[in-house]
Amino acid sequence: MNIDDLRPGRLVARLGFPFTAAPTPPGVEPPVEPNRLGDRYDTDWARRPLARATRQAVIRTVGRVGTAALARPSVAGLDRLDGLDSNVIFVANHHSHVDTPVLLTHIPRPWRDELVVAAAADHFYDTRPKAALISWAYGAIPMERKKVSRRSADTAAGLLDDGWSLLIFPEGGRSPDGWGQPHKGGAAYLAVRVGVPVVPVHLDGTGLILPKGSNTPRPGKVRVNFGAPLRPSDGEDARRFAIRLEAAVSELADESSGDWFSARLRAHAGDTPGLHGPDDSWIRDWRSPDRRPQITDSDRRWSSGRTR
């Protein structure tokens, strides 16, 4: 017997059906296992009582302590939610994987108790263990961000109709360079479609704790600023509402960087600094892991001669 024949895979294969799949008869198209990942991943189980109870317990203990130690969050603007008695969509800028735990631990009740988080289907739902973990830990639902998907939108709209609140990062992903990215229209589309108010949120400081491209968190200080709820006005389409949401997050950022009244003066004068930063800046390139040239030893003047 060859030593390779003793490998577990080979041994199971030797046992044959039903321990292995039955062979497909010649001339028959082999059945394709339906893809249950990405935006097809079913997260219903993560909103059942046991999963919710354990998630809330973890958020209240490990989540609170962890974010307090790592991010020392200070929260402002919660008074703006006074009198808000419906479920809402929270939209926030996105700099870091720390954003979600910070918000999950600091979004006030009752919204925190029935909250789902839109998570990138291509990033978090590409393997079953990762999908299960993110669905349970964050109460996440997959949100397709790289292609048009009716399924993602229908799932989120259904949950909003059922009274759940939604946390979504409309930039579609973490900032690669510390500046904000243009907002996608998903949050505004859902708000117009379902008719729930949107609460803009600005997070400041998470990008220094765990920026995109880094695996080692560095403790820092985070400021979370909740804005006043916004509703689409009569006849306002999703595209225009998305622009207004992005402006609201920018105004919160301006408020966080200075004081509220100065920010209001700039907002009314149309001078609120945007979140996007300059279009062409060496700093942008310097910081961006996506844009940073992949220099190898062969590119260096003191190259040892090795190639990529």
């Binding site: 402002a76 008074d79 009198g83 408020e255 004081d259 509220w260 009244f261 209001r264 907002a267 009314h268």
Partner: protein, 513 residues
């Protein structure tokens, strides 16, 4: 019956056949969308142009707001003042107004602390203006900061903050907890000083105000209105924003039992009451104060109106009456009161004996329209521990008033003639008022004058459960129980007097016919 007894609670029995109880009305519903209501009021004011039309880029804008004495107890965040001030500032920002000052209109009250200011105006407003020195407490003793505007036709001097006098527009943000508040009293008193206040904060005016909670019958208000006319004639432009709240002190939490009628108490309510009473009885006074002053009432805003001062105040007063006014037939021989732990002048502080007198004989006695609830020559019975405790930082002149003035006399006219000016012009009290958190030197006199109408009207005052020596110093009679108090009162009103228990708080006001 449940009686408030300072920081504690007591149950008392009253003779069933001769007693009646006046309960506060149920809380009215609050406005559905207070922020929208505020914006609507600013854009559709009464007898005035919209606020947005009064704002322009190069103007001097001053926003004045009620101080820590309102509301009682403090309300949950966001405070109404914050909501209104943010709405006003947003319009100011839209107009490009940068020269904005915010002033806590505290007259001769103590300066508010940073925490108290933050609570009133909110962190956003505080952080925008306080670090630049554009948000501060009114200083009525600033020699460079006060301006004499003129005198009324009655010879009353009118004095106001110089910043206000030199502003293009004053926006006053008020919380009208009781009908005494608001109108010209907001600016003519709140932003003024001793030179002007002495013309209406005196014994004569208070005795002619029957009551000072009823503007039509209040000499205090007539004097303030005359001073307001002088301000208006001097070109000082006031845009008044007044708000009213319901009387929901306790919300739907366990403390709601305190607002219920005793026969409505469920088993749970009774258990809650017994636990609260036992707990409070076992705590030290300092611990009780910490807990009680930490309570934030879930008041809901029932109205907001803006525009010309007098026209606005007419509407505001109607809203206050809608919530608080209770029609009552006939006067009574004995008026019984349970005094709570708080009055306008001891927020986050100690209710000293002079404030006990002021709350009972000043505020609660005067919560009437028409006639006083108790007949002339009748007896007032108040339940309060009345211990000789004073807050040394907040009430330094009260200590000397208690030791020096009350040792000599309890007659407000004698006090006014012999002692007032010395206290009012004392340099040390002036220094503490300006730089610490002390009430002005003259303030204890005003508290005593506040009760001068009641002192003149009543045949006697009995304090149940009060410290005997302190109660006697106030000129009242101590009693250890309600039965003893009724027995003592019988010397004045006979053996079979009628008794009315006026249950406050939550606040209400009687219309006695």
């Amino acid at each position: 019956m449940l009686f408030h007894h300072g920081e504690q609670l007591r149950l008392e029995r009253l003779p069933a056949e001769r007693s009646r109880i006046i309960y506060p009305p149920e809380p009215l519903a609050g406005l559905d969308d207070p922020d929208q209501a505020i914006r609507d009021a600013l854009e559709n004011p009464i007898d005035s142009e919209p606020l947005s039309a009064l704002l322009f880029a190069d103007m001097r804008l001053t926003i004045a707001f009620d101080d820590i004495s309102l509301p009682l107890p403090q309300m949950r965040r966001p405070d109404i003042r914050q909501r209104v001030i943010e709405a006003v500032l947003d319009l100011a920002a839209e107009a490009g107004v940068t020269d904005v000052h915010l002033i806590a209109a505290l007259a001769l009250h103590r300066r508010m602390t940073e925490e108290e200011l933050r609570h009133a105006v909110g962190d956003r407003v505080y952080d925008s203006f306080a670090p630049r020195g554009q948000l501060y407490n009114h200083d009525a003793e600033d020699p460079d900061g006060m301006t004499l505007i003129g005198t009324t036709r009655h010879g009353e001097e009118v004095q106001i903050s110089t910043r206000v006098a030199t502003s293009d527009l004053i926006v006053y943000v008020n919380i009208n907890l009781v009908s005494m508040d608001g109108g010209w009293k907001s600016t003519a008193t709140g932003l003024s000083g001793y030179q002007a206040l002495r013309h209406h904060h005196n014994v004569h005016t208070m005795r002619q105000s029957r009551s000072f909670m009823d503007r039509e019958s209040s000499e205090l208000h007539r004097s303030n209105w005359r001073q307001g006319e002088v301000l208006r004639d001097a070109g000082i432009k006031v845009f008044q924003i007044e708000t009213t709240v319901n009387n929901d002190l306790y919300g739907d939490g366990p403390l709601k039992v305190l607002a219920k009628r005793e026969w409505e108490w469920t088993t749970r309510d009774r258990a809650t009451f017994m636990a609260a009473k036992a707990g409070l009885d076992r705590l030290s006074p300092a611990q009780r104060r910490r807990i009680l002053h930490g309570w934030r009432a879930p008041y809901a805003m029932t109205s907001v109106q803006a525009g010309e001062v007098e026209a606005v105040h007419e509407v505001t007063t109607r809203h206050v009456y809608d919530q608080q006014l209770v029609p009552v037939e006939g006067q009574t021989d004995i008026l019984a009161l349970g005094l709570p732990y708080i009055c306008p002048y001891n927020v986050n502080s100690i209710m000293n004996p002079i404030l006990v007198m002021c709350l009972g004989l000043g505020y609660f006695f005067n919560l009437y329209k028409g006639r006083p609830l108790v007949r002339e020559g009748g007896v007032l019975i108040m339940s309060h521990p009345t211990t000789p405790e004073f807050h040394p930082v907040h009430h330094p002149s009260y200590i000397d008033f208690f030791e020096e003035v009350l040792a000599e006399t309890t007659d407000p006219l004698v006090m006014e003639a012999q002692f007032e000016e010395r206290f009012a012009t004392d340099e040390w009290y002036r220094h503490l008022y300006r730089t610490s958190h002390a009430y002005h030197g003259v303030h204890p006199f005003y508290m005593w004058y506040w009760g001068s109408h009641a002192l003149e009207h009543l045949g006697g005052v009995v304090v149940v459960g009060g410290d005997p020596a302190t109660v006697r110093r106030l000129g009242f009679r101590p009693a250890s129980t309600m039965s003893d108090a009724l027995e003592i009162a019988s010397d004045v009103v006979g053996r079979q007097p009628t008794i009315t228990y006026f249950k406050n708080p939550p606040l209400s006001m009687v219309d006695v016919t």
